[in-house]
């Protein structure tokens, strides 16, 4: 058989060849926004590097919705793509990245687990995927954190996002952003989408458990990925990424992922803030729409 390098044929079959040879290197760090994803990525960065964290140099591998991957892997300008092309090309790009990588790729993703309206296939490619870690947090606290992140009022935040079945980051049509459209749905829809799908193994991690019993929670998540680290190293990574330390780092050197110039990314990080800061009407509204998964994950 001839070497593919010497006999490379540029047609549709080539792209499927890439698919078929893909290694399953991708571990998705999935979450509804403001649920501990950045905290977990910080933890992973220290765990993998075993040194003090630089928030602006995370050692994880970007975000699924980033245009950068499609641009660099497929050598094209992603601003000019149709929705159909974006869906198809994201799968091709991440399959290629996985096939090329000699190590695990930890890729952040805020998209709900949804299916293409064009070909019916999952938007998140299964072939390069090893598993997903799904981070979730009480939607009542998410509302407050997301309100700070977007700079919108609490009312607007839960109306636009947490109780909105059509909630998304960015519009469906391609925009000047560095990222593509990300479907979110309501908080409950988002959690359920990752829970009920059967293509990708998922390990669920509650933000509240990361706070209350960090060692057991982080250790179990790392075990689920198949990576092996000593207890001491896990403990070191936890200690280096305590909320207060991350907050201090952001205040000292800034954090490029902060979207709200009037506030900080690492804002309060508390569990149960909603009891003091949401009105009874707001609580009931958010609970009513998100009841199924709030019950399922102990937030009821």
């Amino acid at each position: 058989m001839s070497s593919p390098t010497n006999n490379f044929v540029m047609n549709r079959e080539t792209i499927f060849l890439h698919d078929n040879t893909a290694l399953k290197q991708i571990i998705w760090l999935a979450s509804y926004p403001k649920s501990g994803n950045t905290w977990f990525r910080s933890f992973l960065t220290v765990l993998l590097e075993e040194k003090e964290i630089d928030l602006n140099q995370m050692k994880t591998n970007g975000v699924f919705s980033g245009k950068y991957h499609v641009e660099n892997v497929l050598d094209l300008n992603p601003d000019y793509l149709s929705r159909r092309q974006i869906e198809s090309f994201q799968r091709i790009a991440f399959t290629h990245l996985s096939a090329q990588s000699k190590q695990k790729l930890f890729v952040k993703i805020h998209d709900a687990y949804t299916y293409s309206e064009f070909d019916g296939l999952p938007l998140i490619p299964e072939k390069p995927t090893q598993m997903a870690i799904y981070l979730l947090r009480n939607p009542l606290d998410v509302t407050l954190s997301l309100s700070n992140h977007t700079g919108k009022s609490i009312e607007k935040t839960f109306q636009k996002y947490l109780i909105n079945p059509a909630g998304s980051f960015l519009p469906l049509r391609n925009s000047p952003s560095k990222q593509f459209y990300q479907p979110l749905g309501t908080w409950s829809m988002h959690v359920e989408s990752w829970l009920v799908q059967s293509q990708i193994p998922v390990h669920f991690v509650r933000y509240e458990d990361m706070k209350v019993k960090p060692f057991e929670t982080f250790k179990a998540a790392i075990a689920a990925t198949g990576l092996v680290f000593s207890d001491e190293r896990i403990q070191f990574a936890i200690s280096e990424t305590q909320f207060e330390k991350l907050q201090k780092k952001e205040q000292e050197k800034g954090f490029k992922e902060n979207q709200n110039s009037q506030s900080h990314f690492f804002f309060k990080g508390q569990v149960g803030r909603w009891k003091e800061e949401l009105s009874q009407v707001q609580i009931e509204y958010i609970r009513r729409i998100n009841e199924p998964m709030m019950r399922r994950f102990g937030y009821w």
């Binding site: 080539t14 641009e71 000019y80 290629h96 049509r173 000047p176 560095k178």
Partner: protein
Amino acid sequence: MSYKYLAYGIPVISTIPLPAFVEWPDEIAAKPIFVSERIVPESLQTPALEEKPFSTFNENELLYLVPDVARFYVRNGEEITIESLGGNWSEILLYFYANCMAAVLFQRNLIPFHLSGVFLNESQVLLFAAPSRIGKSTTSVMLQQKGYAPFTDDTAILRVEEGKCFAKASYPMIRLWQNSIDEQTILKESTKQSIRTDIEIDKYEFTFHHQFVTEKVEVVGIVFLEAEGNEIRIKKNKPNIGIQYLDNNIYRKQWLNGMKKQFLQFEQLTGIINTVPTWIATRPKNELTFGRFADAIEKQIIEKIKNYEFAH
């Protein structure tokens, strides 16, 4: 029938209309690029040095496939073949202007950079370097609004000759998102054209053929644009910083190794950075501050360059 154009100062003879380019019926001594619509070869003639999902290439050949749109073959810096796979031609030509032209330039030992720019006077330009979506085009347009003529919008080639850096512009087309079009007043809404005619995109193109300069022009400064933080900041670079930024703004930088252009890269970057002053200009992320940004660039960079030129 064949159409004759100029792009990056190079003659292009094409069987396909290439409306972004400047028509150029005159004879030019330089070796032309021939563009035609034909069946594209199934594979490279010599072994590939890099294989990616859509691109396969070596030093002298590039094959590029966009599923359901088109296949492209670029060879020896002088031949570009396009085979439609049913794509709309407005889309097919986007890949031609970007990838085929970049490949043909690399094959001719010319490096394209992500650059927009404006004329400071009839023979000198200030360039803005940044990856896509940072605001090169909008910054350039806001300066055009202040009276500076457009030079190029997305790419240009640079070359150092006798101690000076010169640029050749790509072609006279500015592409802007609608939110940037809304921010300015010199480009008329009525003259904007769709980038792709088969789907709706909020980004549009404007041509400036009547103002386009095809000759090489002296570069008096390069400003690297960034969007982060909460304020507008401008800082002059030391060469060791400037060279890193310039390197990051090589167009299709990811092709350099597979096209064996590492030495050319080193030679070009060091030559340019030792010849031209560079700055980093940062504007706030997530805020439309291009008007104030252009004011700051004019005051802190352009006026200083003009004062320096006047004093010397």
